[in-house]
Symmetry: C2
């Protein structure tokens, strides 16, 4: 596929465009200008146009972008115009919350497998999904065609789980444990680090940090 080098920031902003376009579509807008799109996500019009221009020409001069069509285009670029099967490891506090998170499903991420090692949880039905024994991941990941793993186990065991998950062919991991996981080069890994955001706020307050528009 396309080999151009798209920056991480651009990809993250595509998520924002997608979100804004979904709202615009629900509000029955036919077209939207880069100016309006930028305003809705606190970006600049030039940024919006530049980002989109990496992937093609979607707009009409003098008029703007067709909302519904652009939304589809962005979905297609992000790869969320399809279903992704997700397995979740660790059905504890945060894991349970994630299972109930509607936004994931709405964007094509379907949690189809739950794994834990707690005998009291294994076999029970959680929001319509039976929690599996993590020791069976081998068989069950393959059977269910899982492509993405979400890690929500304690930090102390996260690396072990990830090693196993990688062994079983998973190439994309979203990690909630506050630890730097080691994965092979061909595995995509993203970390969700909530402390980091709070620490950013703390830093800003203590230092009267004159913030630019946040990256996200």
């Amino acid at each position: 596929m396309a080999k151009k080098k798209i920056s991480e920031s651009t990809i993250r902003r595509l998520s924002l465009y997608y979100r804004a376009l979904s709202v615009l579509e629900k509000e029955n807008h036919q077209t939207v200008s880069s100016k309006e799109l930028a305003k809705r996500e606190k970006l600049t019009p030039a940024q919006v146009r530049k980002d989109l221009s990496f992937f093609g020409s979607f707009g009409t001069r003098g008029l703007g972008y067709p909302v519904a069509e652009l939304r589809n285009q962005v979905a297609s670029i992000l790869g969320i115009n399809r279903l992704w099967k997700v397995a979740l490891f660790g059905v504890g506090n945060i894991g349970s919350a994630l299972v109930s998170y509607k936004e994931f499903a709405r964007q094509g991420f379907r949690i189809v497998k739950l794994f834990d090692n707690d005998q009291r949880k294994i076999g029970s039905n959680h929001k319509g999904i039976i929690i599996s024994d993590v020791r069976n991941m081998n068989k069950e990941i393959a059977e269910a065609n899982v492509e993405i793993a979400v890690i929500a186990v304690p930090a102390t065991v996260a690396q072990y789980i990830v090693d196993d998950v990688v062994d079983h062919g998973i190439k994309a991991i979203l990690n909630f444990a506050p630890i730097n996981l080691k994965v092979p080069d061909d595995v995509y890994l993203r970390n969700e680090n909530m402390s980091m955001e709070l620490e950013y706020l703390s830093f800003a307050m203590v230092n009267n940090h004159t913030q630019k528009r946040p990256k996200v």
Copy 2:
């Protein structure tokens, strides 16, 4: 205070240094080199040295950085060498999970108030904290000296809550709702957007994106 312009990336990396230094201290290391610190968080030694140099000279040439001392310094820079009182709005799936998140407390963020508008929840004891009626936030935020608000209510009502919270003098907000909140310029706002990370993974897989080291 310091008016130098520190980049967002640097601040985020400080969180990583803090985390790594905490582990190193627990492992009884006396000193650590920029090389080792970089390795532990998948960064480069030059990056580590440059970041720290914005705030002072903490190391010894030929030897490295004193672990315990640097950890304190970083904590002080980040402003987490003190207690921050936090109020959480919306004690639902994600809100409940956050209350139980030990990492926050460990870094000085103490959730002291829970607010909801569900009569069945108000008054009940959740992990040692009585859930308050969100309509009483006026009195209770002031009484408890809350300085940070965490927003975990549905996206549809998030802006209303934030408007109130800002009216009551809060200057720092961590938002989990997938929406772009409007706040005055002097209020710090950070967003936690989990869909964004999954979408990044999706994009990477669909485009065979050759990833650099992730920003975080």
